[in-house]
Symmetry: D3
Subunit: 227 residues, 6 copies
């Protein structure tokens, strides 16, 4: 009954090929390809301009003001993972800084998504270790209370299972369930192929009203033009 | 892959006996009994003083500004259910009012938990139909875009599966997974039995410092008394 | 070019008959009758339970931390008016308390809507002088900088012209342009007549799905039922 | 250098007579009498309607998600004290509930002001133990990390020294330095005497414009009346 | 009575000369030149560093989660326009991205101001298409419910009429009514001329206290110097 | 009794040597060295990327929407000072811009920390005059109501005395009491020396679990590993 105090060591990560495929797309494209689900709240922002990450989730459940479980999580990281840290209560403390980033990178992590605060953002930018957080705060944390690693968590409003694919960039953070990663990647590719043609038409002055054939449904909905 | 546009008709509700047992406890006690997980964000508040509800979840995923799926959900309500409505994006519109409350009650619902807005709160208080929401807003909604009913949702930061038990009162809203409801109810009962004794001692002037034997760990942690 | 420092003495108030008619409806009904425009942001809340007001707007543009113009506005109040106070910048100070309420009532005002703070809320409840505000704050204000009275203002996201009708209750605050008040009142009456019948059907167990004939459009939109 | 991990046992409380005098006034009047300083942020709200408290401060510095120091503080309470709890970081957890309220009351406390969350609010209302908090939350807290008791703290934006007088009601929470309590009480009394006369005049229809002689300074500031 | 479902095709834009003149000034200068009115709320921020825009407003009223009317608005754009999009309820969805930016630019738009979310911000920065928004979000929107184009709107707290001049940069977004644009431009020029001289004096060490002759009014207001 | 309307001319600044020493460390390191107290709320952010400042505090208490006291403060600046401006109520107005920055720099100021808004941020970046604020806003302020200079203030949740050391960078703003500056600088130096070694080990793949000897306390706390 209690989800607190657990570390799951063996998790099923999404297939490497699907992850690599998803890494070619932005979060907005992936979110559309998923049918508009799986997006974290927009308060999750990169801590430096240009940060982006795509990898498989090692999940962490933190307690407010306590980053003990990030150290526990470090051992569970495999190359290509993104650590996804949720917290049992809203907290903006700086759970993560350049030392943990050094450790996470040494274990193979390609980024961190944390529904809490982060510090040493200048160093993180210099290291180019991408972090997406709800806040930046110099305030450190204690190591006193257990949380969990690699259980299902809710991070910034999105449900994340260990092994899911996380796509994070300057538009937001999207979670793709491991089992659907390949299909989502395909749908994203289809969508993007489609967009190049649309972009060219719009750039040439064709209106979306015509390209998407909106005039009839708009009229039917009752839109009135007044001179 | 797409969780949008689905209504699941057969869901496994928590056992009635466990629900009735949980109904005797407040949200704070249940939250403790669960090991401090499953609580919605504290922005979820009752729309009238004294509102409380306990029942099995019929879940709804709404689109912002659109309450179509609440009508779809009405048909899936069984006596003793609490409707739990999440939204794909933060929205404070008044998705729910006295007409839907009348319909939900007629179908057997005992309350609504909605991560969105609610209106007609005077009527709801008069009807004593308990609603817990993030906002109160007179703004109505359209019926244009599909969401889903009875899928797993994230509502106000908590993961909810259809059939889970929801305990809501003036302290907050807690979600108890259907499979653990009986055990949580037992733990809550044990906790409450325990509290009566503690309350009597504290009322008699015994300090928590002594009752909980905190003096030694405090000294060990380095606490210093200064005169 | 400058809208600051002006008091307009003669304003065209909505017709008394239309105001009285609108006073019979709640803010949610009036908002629907208007076609879902004119609603203030949902952060505007009554300062005591049960507060409601309907009247013609005397508008005020305040400066942050300064309530000078509320005194200027008092002289422009006519019986049946609701004072609507906007501020040039977000501010939660207590611009208004029981002394001003006494004065406003003596001049005939039936309420205040203020995109700022209010104080003496216990006294206001005892007086039953309805106030809708964004905050409650003991902090007083200075009398140093000009604003304006009876110019068009934006209050809590809604555009208000002097003389417009304001309908405020526990669901929110709606602004009805003076020129449309009679028509909106009619539409509200029609809507409410309509609701009694709907309520009876829903209470008898008829589903909105059937009453509103939603099954066909839902199916067309692709809704799938799963057992 | 470190303010963490300290309990001061002997503090200088404001004189009883001054506290009793201040208890006759509301927070708005006291705030004015102080020259408009010492007010906590308006997000501090009573957890039940009608809560009010006036007493001498026992201060607490909490860590986020940890209420250990509230137990330590209980021992320092003397009859007539109000416990004032600050937190080293923003946190809405339910640090305080009916058990601690029972203990605090047994030690003589007349209220709690906490820049954090509170739970068991139904019980607190039934007990009529006044609490002013930034949030209501069922979430409990741990006992793992030291803070301090009876040091100077910043609570909800106001600086509080142990022994200061705290005046809390439905308009807000004001802090009066112990050394100025008698003078502030006098000023509050003078202000209130003054108000009765003003109220009578305003109720009789005299305008603030005339009573406060504002017409000349308004004209000088450039106010223009337009017909 | 209903402002929803309307597209006005002929609008009176501010004169080109005045717009070009205003384009030489920052939003802070223009805001001062207007007498400190017309500023949008400070939550409106550029989506990339260095974004700035000045042009005539094509206004749009959106529904939450629905960007249909942005496509309708595209057809109404004339070279030099800035699209100003308000929403009937607070919403952070990504209503706008690189495809719409491509289309708007092809029609002659020089920027977008939207009281909602925006996505593809990396592409927008690469295109140097300036957008000012309340949020960045990967979440897409539907095309289901009518709003309006070229009606008066309230965007981020400011009233905007079609044809008004919008000045947007890293300090904020200001709206200049079309009819006053020429005069505001003159006032801005006068103000800026004035500032060069002040800047030189201040840089040379002259105090504002002396330059603005503040010592006497400060003393009169009661300011006391203590050694 | 009244703290308003006072300018203290002679303040005791922290020793120059200690300030210079502290200037070598980031805010996170200094905050740790202080024992995790003295940090401002994380809503305080630099107005341009890369801004950082370290100096002795000249404190200002502003009134909302009024920057008069910043001009008064300018005269009290000595080379190496950072102006720290609090406000008696939350306010995002642009109290400070390039003219005041020019003046402050001419007097020797090395930065500004303001619990309010700031404008002309493009110019400030060009000048490289570091400002840390809660908001950016084009809105100007009046000069009408007294505040104070060089009294104790609460700025963004931190208590600041005139002469304290302020360390501000992209991680936040920390306040070091003047009397402890030398000791904090030493502790910071010790901490940083310590970190280089840790960083090297972590980069080499050593886990924090081992380096910090966490495995035993984690096991004792009940952490369970599941395969």
């Amino acid at each position: 009954m209690n989800e607190i105090g657990i570390v799951r060591r063996n998790i099923q990560r999404a297939e490497r090929a699907a992850v690599e495929c998803l890494a070619r797309f932005g979060s907005a494209t992936v979110h559309e390809a998923m049918g508009r689900v799986g997006l974290m709240k927009p308060y999750m922002r990169p801590v430096y301009v240009g940060a982006h990450a795509c990898g498989t989730a090692v999940t962490v459940l933190l307690q407010p003001g306590d980053n003990w479980m990030l150290h526990v999580a470090a051992e569970q990281i495999r190359p290509g993972d993104v650590v996804v840290a949720a917290c049992t209560a809203d907290c903006t403390d700086g759970f993560f800084g350049d030392l943990l980033a050094t450790s996470f990178r040494a274990q193979g992590a390609v980024g961190l998504v944390i529904d809490g605060g982060c510090r040493d953002v200048g160093d993180l930018a210099a290291m180019q270790f991408p972090v997406f957080s709800r806040a930046i705060s110099a305030r450190g944390t204690v190591k006193a209370t257990l949380g969990s690693v690699n259980i299902g968590v809710v991070c910034a409003g999105a449900s994340v299972q260990p092994g899911d694919v996380v796509v994070a960039d300057d538009d937001g953070v999207v979670v793709v369930p491991a089992g659907t990663a390949a299909r989502v990647a395909e749908a994203a590719a289809a969508r993007e192929a489609n967009e190049a043609d649309k972009r060219a038409k719009l750039a040439a002055g064709v209106l979306g009203l015509d390209m998407y054939k909106m005039r009839e449904p708009l009229a039917k909905a009752g839109l009135k033009y007044i001179d």
